[in-house]
């Protein structure tokens, strides 16, 4: 079995390395944009004479660099690698992955240049100008085709829950992306049908792309590292299908109170609340799988990140369901609360799980260990503290902002001034995250290039003294 896995790892090594190097490069660039935009949010005069650095553009460059540069590339690395391993066969058609990866990075680079020079579309989550999107659509589709083929020609009969999530996401996302491009950009639908399409798409970037990939990763790595099976097969079936059925209706909750038919909004609210089912089910399943093994979780770089992400998934999803209720949404809509919520989902949940995935995957791909446990700890604490400050600051500040905005006796300018301390706290959180990202990147490239020094180390890199050496 072990020999077979290492053969599969060897077959996907170069493609996975290409994706993970791309992902980390975009993560660092996205961090620079993030710091700039966080600072500009409370210091509007900063660098304001450069048109290409105006808030709306840098903010969108940040979002796209992170969601499509970091997020999708790390999915292509970790998600496809897990898919290959679970299909139990060395991969074929590696060329397809390279073509897709190269298209992806070229399309995204052109797209972000386009955003900064003013060709931004101003459609949320679809800011990349029309001349770069076909490259991205082709790339998504190639990756999807590769995934379906890998699954079709798998060895053995058993199909694991991670494969459902990854296969489904690989199929859903190109569909979402192409439909959104057609109905909003290429042949614009009439009026607010565009807005409905926009939020059907944008919420599903999280719901049907990032979330299933992160859950698939957690489902694969939690039992793998701990050496015991997932708590319940039936809960994983229920969790998967409940997510598949409910999540894709939920996006309309971004338009509550907006100029669209009320029945559409109500459908979105119902689906958002129904999401409690898959969230609780997955939460129980993950929790029961790690219960009693907390020391091992804490010692393993992979699981420390993944369990942080899994806990965040439960929290952020329950908050999200609450935010879809009209009485809550009336306060949180149009405020920084939503920004905090978005980072809670994409960062504290998705990104933290993907960090965990990279920590597990790299030693298997390179046959080397992580050079520094200290840097891994710095990475973890920088990110854990940073994202906690950010979510708390934006959600407390956003709630106050919403309460004040709904009270017409408080002047609008006063509500703006009162957000500034919270926005400054967000900038501080950005510094913590930056420290974490630098620690991660240094450790990664050290591992990649300084091969000899770390290969000699005995056993996996752990975060505390181990009683038994089989946890990584």
């Amino acid at each position: 079995m072990r020999a077979e896995l290492s053969e599969i790892d060897a077959s996907i090594r170069s493609a996975a390395l290409f994706f993970v190097i791309s992902a980390i490069s975009w993560l660092m660039l996205g961090t620079v944009f993030a710091l700039l935009v966080a600072f500009k949010a409370h210091e509007p005069d900063f660098a304001s004479s450069f048109e290409f650095l105006t808030f709306g553009r840098v903010r969108s460059a940040h979002l796209n660099a992170m969601a499509l540069g970091w997020g999708s590339n790390v999915i292509y690395a970790v998600g496809l690698w897990i898919m290959a391993r679970l299909c139990r066969a060395p991969i074929n058609h590696k060329g397809l992955l390279f073509i897709a990866g190269i298209f992806w990075n070229i399309g995204l680079t052109v797209g972000i240049f386009g955003i900064l020079r003013g060709d931004i579309t101003s459609v949320e989550w679809l800011e990349i100008p029309h001349y770069a999107t076909p490259l991205l659509a082709i790339s998504y589709t190639l990756i999807g085709v590769w995934g379906v083929m890998a699954f079709r020609f798998r060895k053995g009969d058993h199909v694991y829950v991670s494969q459902w999530y990854i296969l489904a996401a690989l199929f859903w996302f190109p569909w979402l992306y192409v439909v959104a491009q057609i109905m909003i950009i290429w042949f614009p639908a009439r009026g607010v049908v565009q807005s409905v399409t926009n939020w059907w798409f944008a919420h599903n970037v999280l719901g049907l792309w990032l979330t299933p990939m992160a859950l698939g990763t957690a489902y694969y790595l939690i039992p793998k590292v701990l050496g015991r099976p997932i708590y319940s097969y039936y809960l994983s079936v229920l969790g998967f299908w409940a997510l598949a059925i409910f999540y894709n209706w939920a996006g309309v909750h971004h338009l509550i109170g907006g100029p669209i038919p009320v029945w559409l909004i109500s459908a979105g609210i119902v689906a958002s609340v129904m999401m409690v089912i898959p969230v609780i089910v997955v939460g129980i399943n993950h929790h029961m799988s790690v219960v009693g093994l907390h020391k091992e979780v804490w010692r393993s770089p992979t699981l420390r990140f993944i369990v942080f992400g899994a806990i965040s998934y439960t929290l952020v999803s329950l908050i999200g369901s609450a935010m879809a209720l009209r009485s809550v949404n009336q306060i949180t809509h149009f405020t920084h609360f939503t920004v905090g919520h978005a980072h809670h989902g994409v960062y504290a949940f998705f990104t933290m799980i993907m960090f965990g995935g990279v920590y597990y995957m790299m030693p298997r791909l390179l046959k080397r260990e992580w050079p520094s446990a200290g840097l891994i700890k710095l990475h973890f604490w920088g990110c854990a503290i940073g994202i906690t400050i950010m979510v708390v600051a934006l959600q407390v500040g956003g709630w106050i902002q919403g309460m004040e905005m709904n009270n017409a006796e408080i002047s609008f300018l006063d509500t703006v001034r009162n957000t500034i301390p919270w926005l400054k706290a967000r900038s501080v959180s950005g510094l913590f995250l930056t420290v974490g990202h630098i620690a991660f990147a240094v450790n990664f490239f050290w591992m990649l290039f300084a091969a000899g020094a770390v290969r000699a180390k005995q056993g996996p890199t752990l975060l505390s003294e181990s009683e038994k050496g089989d946890v990584a």
Binding site: D45, V123, V193, W200, A244, L255, A267, F334, L413
Partner: protein
């Protein structure tokens, strides 16, 4: 769960369900809305059927050419990331109490737009009825000064200055008619002998902002005085 066709059918229909339910059905329900008059009257042929009032203007109006160019500037600056363009109904939020609109906006208000910019963030105020709050030359001047540097008229605002949409130039002969009028002793005013004039993009952008007006009724959303 190892049957690929079955798994795949489930995956396909899950998304197809919301694609039909949200996108196609809303396209059927509101994708064919047309302009209409402010009020409807019973048809001569069949009093049960309500028809448009003959001779009345149609709403929402078509955007003007210059405003359309200004919208391109609005899009390229990413204004939507801080400014929404929608009014929620009375008693739901304080949109109407804040004077952001006289009535809630409805689907028909957006049908003449080739790109709809509803927005989901109010770091700054809603703009769907900005032209109702700022009109004429005074409104134009205010918006230019505010775009040049918001601190001049809204101290403490977090909106970035868009000074790069303006030229600071030496006054050659008589001052330009378009030159911005700064408040007395403003620290943002140009040096003596210089003036700040809007570029073509700034002129178009302000025309677009002033064109944002919900000053008409629709049969489904009348303005109640």
């Amino acid at each position: 769960m190892k049957n690929l066709p079955l798994l795949f059918c489930g995956i396909f229909f899950a998304l197809a369900f919301s694609f039909v339910g949200l996108l196609l059905s809303s396209n059927i329900q509101i994708g064919s809305l047309t302009q209409t008059t402010e009020t409807l009257v019973p048809s001569d042929a069949d009093p049960e059927v309500m028809v448009m009032t003959e001779g009345d203007p149609l709403y929402p109006p078509m955007p003007s050419g210059l405003a359309q160019q200004g919208k391109e500037v609005y899009i390229s600056m990413g204004c939507i990331y801080c400014h929404s363009q929608q009014t929620r109904r009375a008693e739901f939020g304080a949109d109407i109490d804040r004077g952001w609109g006289a009535r809630q906006t409805v689907a028909r208000d957006y049908i003449t737009q080739d790109r709809v910019l509803l927005g989901t963030m109010r770091t700054g105020p809603d703009l769907v009825n900005l032209g109702g709050r700022y009109a004429g030359d005074a409104g134009r001047d205010w918006n230019h000064i505010h775009l040049y540097n918001p601190q001049i008229v809204s101290e403490g605002s977090t909106m970035p200055p868009f000074a790069f949409l303006y030229d600071v130039r030496k006054i050659d002969g008589s001052p330009s008619e378009d030159a911005l009028t700064f408040p007395p002793n403003s620290e943002y005013a140009p040096e003596d002998g210089y003036e700040v004039v809007p570029t073509r993009r700034a002129i178009a952008l302000v025309e677009y902002l002033l064109s944002l007006k919900i000053n008409y009724s629709l049969p489904e959303a009348p303005i109640v005085e």
